[in-house]
Assembly symmetry: C2
Homo-oligomer: 207 residues x 2
DNA sequence: GTCGATCCCTACCGCCCACTCGGGAAAGTC
DNA sequence: GACTTTCCCGAGTGGGCGGTAGGGATCGAC
């Protein structure tokens, strides 16, 4: 008697299958979105039949959320692993530059989030809540990194950290869109200029 | 003998129907995207049956492109009508601020473009070429407005106008995403701060 | 009033999709 | 080696989709 929602997969084989499914779903959803990406395509890409897939993820929606949480967790760990992020201020901007540089080498991941966030803007979309929460979280985290810079004296204190944080996120998302549509539009250089502008703007007034 | 692709609709009645269809399609595609928005929903919203709609737009794809061109044409005319845009420099940023302010009162239009550009980053999407071209066009136009400011001496000349232009577009798109996901995230204030940052950064060095 | 073009409908087709059912192979447990 | 649990498949179901076929109403031109 499996306790309703306890262990979705215990055996090693099941874990391997789950992993293959998540990788396949990343690829399919990145290409065709959630609505446009058939479950069967995910299944065959994971060397499974479609009912076989549904054994691990009972609905398409549950698969979507699993993919998002998985890929998101990786990204968050990456930022959290840098030292500059915790220091805040200009160093945090450099840490974000590192994320941008890494994203520039991982088109699939970038496309996944861009495609899905586009769909999820509508109210009824299964990932709407998820993305709304995610942006709130990331924005708050970025604002705090900026405030750490202000508290440490590296940034001048009379700027609204929350507003600046949302600008940083906006630039990252917007550059991704342009890059995806035309890969010659380099994200790295452009974010670097924005970071420079921001540091310049936030330079503390000389005493 | 109608010359293949000459006049798709000549009578006043047909023009009125076409117009209703475009408005309905804007609404449906904004809510559910191109892939997720059924033709039948557009048709009923336009007081038509689905084959009735297909009389005016022979395929769903042709309807999509018609919607995009229509809505885009309006927006372009709006910018072109301002005097600051042609003057370039800081005045052009103010003109863009006007666009942002207007967008903040027209959620459906903003959502239409955000949802569709998300879908269209995939290679096979019917609007892929369209959006790639569109961003190229807009980016070039914005870069030229910046260069006019540099030529007039309002902006310092050693900054890369093309890079700055893509930052401006990125901020607009990114802020729209955050605003759509959470309407309390004001686009107007935030773009204003970015415009201020940009003007600050581009202030010509004192002689 | 006639005639041709435009407009739009009812009925239908073939396809794709997420999900279900029932059963059987495999793997872990004792 | 029996028994349970996990894993996965073949076959099917109901619904939704874009697009087609063919005919009837409407309307402008003359």
């Amino acid at each position: 008697m499996p306790r309703s929602t306890k262990r979705p997969s215990s055996s090693a084989r099941g874990a391997r299958a789950r992993d293959a499914i998540l990788r396949a779903a990343t690829s399919v959803f990145a290409r065709d979105g959630y609505r446009g990406g058939p479950l069967a395509a995910v299944a065959t890409a994971a060397d499974l039949t479609q009912p076989g897939l549904l054994h691990h993820f009972p609905t398409k929606e549950s698969l979507l959320l699993a993919v998002l949480e998985e890929r998101d967790r990786e990204g968050a760990a990456l930022l959290d692993g840098t030292e500059g992020w915790h220091r805040g201020g200009p160093a945090a901007l450099d840490a974000l530059q590192g994320i941008v540089d890494r994203n520039a080498t991982n088109r699939e991941l970038v496309q996944l989030f861009t495609v899905l966030v586009g769909e999820s803007v509508s109210d009824g979309h299964p990932a709407h809540r998820y993305f709304a929460d995610r942006y709130g979280r990331i924005r708050t985290g970025t604002a705090e990194a900026i405030r750490r810079g202000q508290a440490g004296g590296a940034f001048r204190g009379d700027a609204d950290a929350e507003t600046l944080a949302s600008l940083v996120l906006a630039v990252m998302d917007g550059l991704q869109i342009q890059w995806l549509l035309d890969p010659s539009q380099d994200m790295t250089d452009r974010f670097a200029l924005f970071a420079e502008m921001t540091k310049h703007f936030l330079r503390p007034a000389p005493a």
